[in-house]
Structures are given as C-alpha cells and as structure tokens.
Symmetry: C2
Subunit: 643 residues, 2 copies
C-alpha cells in the first residue's frame, strides 16, 4: 500500500499502481469526469499513469491553468492526427500549448494549407474527438525511438531526439497518431468538445531565418461550445478595442524605427493620460505617507553586482556602455538606486517605515519577437516604490499596499482580480532563490497571513517567487474578460543585507530593514494599454485627453463659444472649439469618433439663454443645461474621478 | 596709410605701423589709459603691436571678458617673475588665465612652497608691478628658441616648442622675466594694482598621474583694491552658500560612487523642489499653449546620424550599447525625439505653431575632472521644449519665449541678467556651422530685431552659435553677484530639413518649419544649484521642502498641534510637528538651522485662544495669529509664489 496525501492534508492508502483517475473515482464519479491530469509530488502527470510510491496528489481540472495547458497540448496532438490524415507524409516539429490555445509547426513538403483546409481539419478533429481515443503513454529506449523516426524519414523528430536522454523518452499515441512527446495528456479525446483553428502562419525552423520555413497552425479548443462562443466574441471585441489601433486613432503614442523597437514616444494625448495617472499616484502615495525621489537611469556595473542583478538578470538588460574602464548599465529596476538614497543618511527606527516612491523609467531588453504594442516594451515607466520597515511594521505595511490596489481597482472599475502568491521552491535554494530557508518560511507565512486576515482572494503558486523573497502578482480582467498581469507587491529580506542597509533599533543596535517592492499601477505602458482596451478608448472624463468639445452650429456663435471655453479653461477643463464651417451633424459625428466625453452644441437658443446643449459620449443628447451648472457637473466628475 | 574700421562702422586712416594704443590716444587720453588689449580683425592682440594693413579694430578694456583674460594672463607672468626671484632655477610649464584669475604650474625641484611664501610673493609682485615694466613681444626663430631653453636646461618649454611651428613663435618679456608665450599681454605691469594669491595645489604634468607632480599656484588680480575686496567678500559669502554644502545639510541631493560620478540622486527634499519647479513650468507652458510629450532616454545610432549629433557631438555622449548589430545611445538632447513626434502625423499650417515640451532627462559625458556638484553633471533634467513654426510666426514665438524668461526672473528675484546673442562665423561655414549663408543672415537678423524691438539688454558674440542656427544664452547673477549661464533660446533652420519635417502651407505645398529650442529654467541640476546659493538655502515658502514646523512648548500641547497640522495639511501645506521632549529654545534653534520658513510655537495661551505664535525664518517672532488667519496667509504666499 502507498500513502497519498491530498491538498487538504488528508492521507489515504491505495494499492501501488493506482492512477489519479482511480483515486478521483474513489472520491466521486462526478469529480472523475472532470479530471484532466494530476499533480503528483508537484509534477503534472497523466491522470491515467500508475503511481507506485507515497505521493502528494492534486487533481487537475479545466479550472486550473495546468488543466488548460494539458487540454490544449492534447488538442495539438488531435490536430496533428487530423493533418496527417489529410496530408499524408507530413512531418511535425513541435506543438506546444499557449496561454490561449496551441499551435503545431509542420513541414507539408510542396503542399500548401489554405484557410478552407482549416475548416475541413476542424471537422475531421471533431470526428476524431468523438472516437473517445485514449492518450497512451509508452516509455521507449532511445535506440528504438531513433529507429522508428529513421524509418519514417522524420529528420525533425530525430533532431529532437539528439538532446534527449535514454531512459527518459516517451511516445504518446491516440487513434492513428503517435508522437515523440514528454506529455502529460488528458485521458482521452472525448473531453475536446469545441474546436476552432484560428490561423496559419510561417515559422522558420528553430526560429532561424536561415532555416526552412515551416507551416504553423494555431487553434483553440474548449470542453463545451458555450465557452468557445464566448471566447470568439471576446476576441472580436478585443480586436475592436486593440490598444495599438486605438493608440494610433486617438494619437496616444507612436513608435519610430530610428528611435528603436519597443521604445514608446508618448504624444500629447498620451502624455495627458500619463500625467493624470501620476497625479493620482502622487496624491494616493502622499496620503499614505510616501516620499518621492528622482534617480538617474544608469549606474555603474558594481551597483548591479551588489544587487545581484548581474549576472542573473543580464539577459534582460541592455548591454553596458564602457568608458574610461567603467561599465555603465541602463537600470532595469529602480530598487538599487532607492537603496542608495536610504543609505545616504543614518537611519533610526524612528525614521521607519520609510517609503520612497518614484515613477522610475526602466529599460529591459525584451527579444524583438516578444515586443507587442504597449504590452511588451523595452522602456517602462514604473509606478514604483520601496518601503523600508521593521519586522513588526511589515504586516501593517503589506496590508496597506494591498488596500491601495483595491482602491485603484475601484477607481478603474476593475471588478475581477486575483492575487497570485508566488512562493519559492526549497529544492532551488542557493540557485534560483537566496539560500535562507528560515527567512523564506517566515516571510511567506507573514504574507499568507495578511492575505487571509484581510479576506483577499488569492491563489498560491510554487516556484515563482522573486530571488529575494515571496511576491504577489496581481491579475486583473478587463471589462471584456481579457486577463492582464499588471502589478506586483514583493517582500525582500535579501537586498537589505546585500546593500548593508541598516537602522539603529530601539536597543541602539544596528538592524537590517525588510523591504517591500510594490507597483500597483504597474507601468504606464501596460496600464494605458489595458485602459485603452478596458474603456475602448472612451476614457472617463478625468483621464480623457480632451474633456469637452464645443460645437457651434454656425460661425456667428464662435464669440459665445470662446466665452464658454474661457470659463471651462479657468475651471481646469481641457476643452476645444470646432471652428470649422462644417454641418453640425458632421461635427458631432467626428467628435463622437474622437471619443471626447462631452460635446457641447451651441446655437441661437443656447447663446441667448447662456445654455449649452450637452451630448454625452455613448449616451447621446442629455438636454440643455445652464453653462455654470454644466461646469460644476464636469468639474465634480473630474475631481471625483468618476468612472 | 591704412584704413582702420571702428565698431560703430567709422573708418579712420593711420600710418602703417600704428598701434591700438596710438589709436586710442588719438581718440582720448582717458580711453587710452583704460586699454588693455585690442581686437584686430577679430583676433585679440597686444595694444602695443604695430598694425600694418587695413583692419577692423575694437579696443579691449577691463569691461570685456577678453580684457580680463589678458589682464590675468599678464598677472601670471608677473607672478612667475616674483617666483623666479624667490626660487632661482624654477622651471615653468603653463600659466593660463581662468574665468576668475589665473594659475601657473611650476617645477620647484626639491623645494616646497608654503602658504607663508604666498604672502611674500604677493608683496614681491606688488613691488614689481609698480616698476611699470612693459610687456615686450619678440618673434623668435624656432632654432633660437630651442637654443635658449636648452641652455637654460628647461625641459618643459622645450616640450612645448616641439609642437610649435617655426615663424609663429614669440617670447614675451617684462622686467627680468622672459617666457615662451603666444600672448597677448597688457601694455605694462602698472595696471595690476591689487593682488591675491589664493591657493597652492599639486598638478601632474600634462594631467597624467604617471608624470611628475608640479606645483600649481592660483591667484587673482584687479585694476583696483576695491574690486579685489568685493571679490574676496563675494567668495566668502559664496563659501557659506556653497550648494554642495547646503545640499548635504538640507538633504537635497546625494551622489554615490557605485551609481557613478556626476549622477545625482535626488532625495525627498530635493524632489519636492523639482516637483514645484516642474509644476511652475507646466502651468506656465500650458498657459502659453505648449503640449507635453514623454520620450525614451535612448535611441538608435541612426537617429543621431540624421540629427548630425554623430559624429560631431560624440565626445560628449556616453558610448553606445551594442546589441543584435544595433547601436543605442543615451540621448544628449531631446530634440531628435521631439522631431519624431512632430513627424508621426501629417501637419498643416493650421497645426502650427506646435510647441512640444518635456522635462527631458539627457546624459552628457563630462570629463570627470570637470564635474562639479550640481553645476556640471552627467545626468541633466532639462526644462526643454521645441517650437515648430512658420517664418511668419517666428518673431512672435521667439518674443514670447524671451518674455517667459523675464516672467521667471521676476519669480526668482533675478535682477541682473544679460542675453548673449551668439552668432556664426562666416569663415567656418560647412565646418562648425551648417553651410547656409543666406539662412544664417536671415535668422540672425530676425533674432536681433526681436531683441531690439523688445528692449531686451543683450550683447553679441561671434562664433558661438549652435551648428544649426543662432542662439541666445542667458546669463544671470545670483544675489551675491556670482554669474551663472543658465538657459538657452535657439533658432534652428537646419534640423527640420535633416529630419524632412514638413507641413502643408496655405498654398497646399510642403514647407519645412523653423524650430526654436528653448530651456528657460535650464536644468534642474544647475538651476537648483543656483537657487541654493541665491537663497542661501532659505527657499521661499512655495519652494521650501518643509514649509512650517509646529513647535509645542511641552508634550501636553501635542493634541492641539495635531489639530493645527491636520488643517494645514488639508490646505496643502507641508508641515511637521517637533514632538521631541526638548526645550523650546533648542527646537527653535534647530528649526532655524534647517531653514524652515515658518516656525509655529504653541503653548498654553495659543491653545486656549486657537492661536499660533509665528516665527518667520530670518525675521524672528512676528507675534500671535489666529490659526485660520495664518493658514490663509501662508496659502496665499504659496499660491502667489511670493519671493
């Protein structure tokens, strides 16, 4: 008999050779029907793979990210089976799951795949799925595997085999398809109930343009049709709200080849949004007792050796500038600079907590293939701050940061969010993580306790902490249901010691502060990208680059419009007059299209009675209003940051 | 006879061989007594050197910067004569004039010079000066010069001779001293009436620490004792107001070896000043119709090839970061990035003038020996903007920029300033300056006309323009009479074409805009350095990091102090309570020392009557005031930015 420990700590005994699926069935048939895979001793396995020793077990379903990955990975195999039936002799390279769906790269020889073929393939996949074929795992000696693919004449899988170790090679088969594959897979094809192949693209073998171009087919699948329909609807809406498209239409930002990829040039409209966000952050942080600092964008190599960013983080940094025997690096984080400000003057416990904030600009060298609009860039304006505190102050400070997140979510109408508590992996102490087992335990418990105490929804993830301590990543969903990883709240017990930061404690002895790294609004780049999609470019008034547009029905009302404008400007409203000699219908249409929140139509009646005809973006005509009443209303809307 | 053209355009005829001094005498004896040198065809000459052809002539006096240079250069020779009499066999390296005074590097052999020796030397110099010895220029063949110094065993002058061309070598003698020297010099030693030797320092020969260390003696001289006294007084005051000393005492900024030289870390107090200055600039610029942008701190090499900064400005830039075959440079100016934003969308004449503003951070690699506190740094936060306009709009825009300067001067209590109009040198077209003689003429005249029309005090300087057009540098004087070159206002007719910037003009044809580069508040670094000295750290309330400090006489008044603080915070005042259990006298003394503008003393009477005893920094006790009255007063002082 073996002992199986379940996530709630309960231990059950089973015969050796039992599978996760067996165990699920022993609990309930309903549960078993949902099991896609299992986490055995922390590793994701086939639910049908025999367990032969004591183990911890977590059943994996569609609700887990590992469940979706496994599902999509198996779907890639199903697609490959369909492709092989349609294009005999096709050779496959790799077919991984993605954040949303999967792809498979393939060599079709002289043949081409068309968009029409995708529909035929989808149909074929549906047929194959209904056959309820099991995914069967088989361990294969390396020689045998080489023999198999040599006979098949498949140079791609032979290439993959070169780097695999004998004794660790597995084949997976379902229906008529067999693939070299590490797995794991779902129990059988019948789980795959809704299929959409989305795209065909070219992809160079191994990403090298000197190699042959393969055909890459993208797809996504779901356990039911409803989820697929919702997904496709969300995609369509997301396309309309694409932040790159809106960013251009609304003159928010631009990029330029001569400046460089991933380096955003913020145009006047985008800069207004940046400044409103910074104003919000500064007000919020001032009220929370933060102090602001300004630091340079570069530092000498030695700073990053002290911090440990070099050599560990080097890949993500721009290369050094070398002069007079000194190497300078663009900063990828603001923390080392802030630590130097902490260290510049002697600190006592009375100076703590010290909260240093800066909208610091960092540079990270993302691979050019990974750059994407504002979502993945090389220059990041970060809503950064570092809180230096004692152990006793930690819980209060960490809680206050989480509360700040919630405050922001409310302002921006973010209803769905989850905090991911990323923990270390004890097996990787000294490599990926600072080798301080006690401090890891202590700080992870402190963070977990804060989350539980405050009733914050959170999930725990193993092996995703920062190298200096546990962290919380915040995932939020835009109004159309797309997920964004935005912000971070991290505990750091290591940097303080590396930088020899100290304060004199109550016993007059030197002590190292704990450090909290936090960035609730993430970076301007990603946050404004998120907001563009979230609001479909229809920003709330306080964020809108242009808040009101005055639309005279004819030229003779322009003097009155100028009076109104002067009053609005004085009240701090961003306003323009459309002075063109165009029909009012056209002026309104274009103002609607430019997403200005308020359109103020002015004709004879409005002028004579000191009124404005007010149109609200998306709501249409809301009637006539006295000028002062409108001003009071819009100023209140701006000051209260109404959504 | 030769024709001599005077600065006012008048042409006079003289015998060939006439000297500038002769010509001065022919005008007035009084004038002649003031002549230190002369500018002959744009080159500074001895006033006693014969002129043998037609020439333009400008007499140079103490009021000209060239006059002071010549005076101090001659003073260095006078000091050398005194040193030689005191330390026979001394060998001299170089002895140039400085912005204030002069130095001479010398090899004293085994001997040392002491501070006491300086006083003896001063006395000797005074004696020698009174001898009224003429500075005599003599042209010497190279062989003869080499013979002279070989015999003297002077390896330093022999080293200098190596790089000099035969036929262009001159000796200068006065009294018993002869030196290899290019000149020019003042007519005779009697002009030097007040002498102060200020410092002895070590200096490696040729600045190379592998070479022998020479003795460097610094001094300064004046044409009368009064000016020397004033200068020494100013020095003493400047020492007290040293921005590096005050910057540390008031926790304004710090630097750190691991970050790098010349890279300022702005501490919370300094950041408050930065944010107040930026607020002022943003308000002022918004009212003047500027739009704000945000751009990255790096760009690809090709951008700086287009702009022409590479290769011309390369020496002042950090070296490139090279990755994936692309070179990235830290920006030394914001203009190229702003031009790219101009170019991002099509422009019509209706879009002009377009004024793009950014407090942009630039990086310039100043030599480490030239770095000096906040005055010369490597990271500069620049109050930058670029105005794109038509030729017709130019005068109005340029005038508006100059008016913005005057507005700022008033706010900061800068009473003395002068605008230096820097012009090109026609002889250097195509090398130092863009080869567009007509455009130079046109724009220089446009700029001059604006200055004259607006009655702005200005001086003209040849050969100091930017490579793309004429510029105005603004020199201001701090309250203690020190001069700062702060800001700039430049016309640019070249960059627009290099970047192919265009707008569609009224005739529907493409046209290149003129560009104005301007930075009225210069950089945060230099401006805050200036302000520290100007205010001696006693900032006006609106700029002061801490605006009021509440000083309870004993602990029992703390609850009342907290109420007062809450009211002040709500009114936007930066305020703290000194809660320590110290005597009120000590609290006041320390608050005075920290330069906080208002100290609010609270005791029994104040608490019972809802009052505050108000002390004003530098003025002492100003009596009791009701709390609300004080709040209204301080808020008004802040909002009006009273000086």
């Amino acid at each position: 008999m073996i002992n199986i420990t379940l996530p709630d700590g309960a231990v059950r005994q089973y015969e050796s050779g039992v599978t996760a699926l067996d165990i699920a069935r022993s609990i309930s048939e309903g549960l078993a029907r949902k099991v896609l895979a299992a986490k055995v001793n922390g590793e994701v396995w086939d639910a049908t793979r025999p367990i032969t020793g004591d183990a911890t077990l977590k059943l994996v379903t569609w609700d887990d990210s590992e469940g979706k990955s496994t599902f999509w990975h198996s779907s890639a195999h199903l697609m490959a089976e369909a492709v092989e039936s349609m294009f005999p002799g096709v050779k496959f390279w790799v077919g991984p799951p993605l954040d949303n769906g999967f792809y498979y790269d393939m060599d079709l020889g002289d043949r081409k795949m068309s968009d029409e073929d995708l529909q035929v393939l989808e149909k074929k996949m549906n047929e194959l799925a209904k056959k309820n074929s099991a995914y069967i795992r088989k361990e294969i000696p390396k020689a045998e595997a080489i023999g198999y693919f040599t006979e098949k004449g498949d140079e791609y899988k032979l290439d993959l085999l070169q780097n695999l170790e004998d004794g660790k090679i597995t084949f997976y088969s379902q229906g008529n398809f067999t693939d070299l594959c590490r797995g794991p897979h779902i129990p059988n094809t019948s789980f795959i109930k809704a299929i959409k192949l989305t795209n065909i693209a070219g992809a160079y073998w191994k990403g090298d343009e000197k190699n042959k171009q393969l055909t890459r087919v993208y797809g996504i699948t779901f356990p039911n049709q409803k989820e697929l329909d919702e997904y496709l609807l969300m995609l369509e809406e997301a396309k309309k709200r694409d932040h790159r498209k809106l960013g251009k239409e609304l003159s928010i930002f631009t990029m330029d080849d001569e400046v460089g990829q991933g380096l955003v040039l913020w145009m006047p409209n985008g800069t207004i949004i940046i400044e409103e966000l910074e104003k919000l952050a500064k007000e919020t942080e001032a009220a929370a007792g933060y102090k602001r600092v300004v630091t340079p964008h570069i530092a000498k190599e030695s700073l990053y050796l002290t911090s440990g960013h070099l050599p560990y983080y080097k890949e993500s940094m721009y290369p050094p500038m070398e002069l007079d025997g000194t190497k300078y690096y663009l900063k990828a984080m603001n923390c080392p600079h802030h630590h130097k400000i902490f260290a510049a003057e002697h600190k006592s416990y009375k100076d703590l907590p010290l909260r240093l904030a800066e909208y610091g600009t960092c540079y990270r060298y993302e691979q050019s293939g990974e750059l994407f609009g504002l979502m993945r860039v090389r220059c990041l304006h970060m809503n950064d701050a570092h809180i230096y505190c004692t152990k006793e102050q930690f819980a209060e400070e960490f809680k206050a940061v989480n509360e700040m997140y919630l405050k922001y979510f409310k302002i921006f109408g973010v209803d769905k969010f989850v905090m991911r508590l990323s923990l270390h992996d004890p097996a990787k102490l000294g490599q990926k993580y600072v080798d301080e087992p006690e401090l890891w335990k202590e700080t992870e418990e402190m963070v977990r306790a804060v989350l539980i105490d405050t009733g914050t929804p959170f999930v725990e993830v193993q092996d995703e902490a920062a190298f200096y301590g546990p962290k919380i990543d915040v995932q939020i969903w835009s109004i159309i249901g797309r997920e964004f990883t935005l912000a971070t709240n991290q505990v750091d017990f290591a940097q303080g010691r590396r930088f020899k930061l100290e304060f004199t404690n109550k016993d007059n002895a030197p002590e190292t502060p704990l450090i909290i790294h936090r960035a609730p609004l993430g970076t301007h780049e990603r946050f404004i990208g998120f907001l563009l999609e979230h609001y479909a470019g229809k920003f709330p008034v306080w964020l809108a680059p242009l808040q009101a547009k005055i639309l005279p029905i004819s030229d003779k009302f322009i003097p009155y419009c100028n009076e109104v404008r002067a009053k609005l400007v004085k009240a701090g409203v961003r306003v323009e007059i459309d002075e063109r000699s165009e029909k009012i219908g056209k002026k309104i249409r274009e103002a609607e299209l430019s997403r200005v929140p308020y359109m103020l139509v002015v004709g004879e009646k409005e002028m004579n009675e000191s009124m404005l005809s007010v149109r609200r973006q998306g709501k249409g005509d809301t009637g006539m209003q006295p000028v002062l009443e409108f001003i009071n209303m819009i100023v209140d809307e701006i000051e209260e940051r109404k959504g």
